[in-house]
Amino acid sequence: MPDVTPAPAAPLPVLNLSVGDRVVYPNQGLCNVTEIATDEIAGQKLVFVTLRFVETGGIVKVPKDKLAKNGVRRIATPDDVKKVFEFLRSDSERASLDWKKRARDNTERLSIGGLIGLAEVVKGLQVLSELRPLPPKEREQYNDARHLFVSELAAALNCTEADAEDALDVVLFPPGKERPKRSIEEFQGLMGDDLLGDDLLGLDGEAGAGEEEPEEKEKDEESSEEEGDDEDAPKKKPAKAAAEKPKKKLDLDTETTVAQGAALDGPAPKKRGRPPKPKPEPVAGAEPEAPKKRGRPPKAKPAEAEAPPAAPKKRGRPPKAK
């Protein structure tokens, strides 16, 4: 049997820092190295690097050996910035249409991608926004990426953040030009995205689902009214909802898209659970039954209710017996 144990990963380079250096903490932003000291923790002597966040003033102590593992890196150099601008000018970046893959990629880029990773997230989501508006979470991610990018760019170029942001946007939104409108065809053919439809643009999981909910709720209410007090009604709901669920919902999972799509073309899937009770057919000429009232029946009135009401009880101390 072959040995399946993975090869040990290459050791990460140790970041040699000194007090006063400026570094970037992934997903947090710029930090200043304020102290490097040896502390004893649980009997172990470790060299800790104290980082102070420029924006919030927060302090974090990281063991020196774990700086690289945590993704702490030096600020990008002007050469890196040039490469980033070249990348931003190119029209090569296309975000995946599969929102799960896109979210995974973007999260990874934000944490370990460096300045070019931030640029990829910003560019990818910006291009995607030319196809359709971004869902709220991605809009937030776009804003976070832009914020981290601008603050690092300002530090790298030694300029104000306003200038750094405008330097970015001069590339993304060239002066005198409107943003182009993208078509879905431009995004297809990337990493198997050609199998995906319009329903995988990422809205289904968030905004799209919200729009469809009221209709489903109405359907559920209607069905529950028809069935009255039938105890089986709640059990039937999921099966019925699954059968009536539009194609968009079924296609949410990328890995099973094709299989589910194929199943839709074939015979309808057999419903699970107990079949619904047959409704009695109405007799011709007979008046339809009054709909059964729901809820607890009203309390029967006591027999004494018809008797004349008792004289109201006098308040206060009873008179003394003579």
Partner: protein, 171 residues
């Protein structure tokens, strides 16, 4: 509080309408807080960064935003990636911003909404907002051709962000 400080003469009706538009956008009081003169040594078109640094201070609380308004032109800024047309500039998350109304043709109380749109962007930067992707939002980059035609309003995301920032201010 948003304090509008003029560097040149403006119609009081325009300033009143601008203050009203800013109050509507940020739910923070906005008023004309006097005039100052441009310090000597500056030449039109002005370098926005230098001019903003050189302008005299205005009495304001720590959380107040000061918007300097001028009719004179600001020169385009040369940046690492190209030249950026400049209608105004702000110290990001700072207190001061400058805006030139020279980008608006025929400024009058009827067209003040365009000025308000530009002003909202500068004040938005001062509150920590970045540029937005939505062309209808006031935080969309102001050098795009469609920007002056838009309404003086934020998109949902920018409005929520600005409201959250304003809620956290101390005063």
């Amino acid at each position: 509080m948003i304090r509008i400080v003029t560097l040149d003469e403006y119609d009081p009706a325009i300033l009143k309408a601008l203050g009203k538009a800013l109050y509507t956008a940020f739910a923070v009081g906005a008023e004309h807080s006097g005039s100052v003169t441009i310090p000597p040594g500056q030449v039109e078109p002005y370098d926005a960064n230098k001019l903003l640094d050189a302008l005299p201070k205005v009495q304001a609380f720590a959380d107040d935003k000061v918007l300097y308004l001028t009719t004179r032109k600001l020169s385009p800024r040369k940046l690492a990636s190209g030249e950026a047309p400049t209608a105004g500039i702000t110290r990001y998350k700072g207190q001061r911003a400058i805006l030139s109304s020279s980008v608006i043709k025929n400024l009058n109380p009827d067209t003040v909404k365009t000025l308000a749109r530009y002003a909202m962007q500068e004040i938005g930067h001062a509150f920590g907002l970045h540029h937005c992707l939505d062309p209808r939002c006031a935080m969309y980059p102001s050098w795009t051709p469609s920007y002056p035609q838009g309404e003086a309003s934020f998109c949902v995301f920018c409005r929520d962000t600005s409201e959250a920032v304003i809620r956290q201010t101390k005063s």
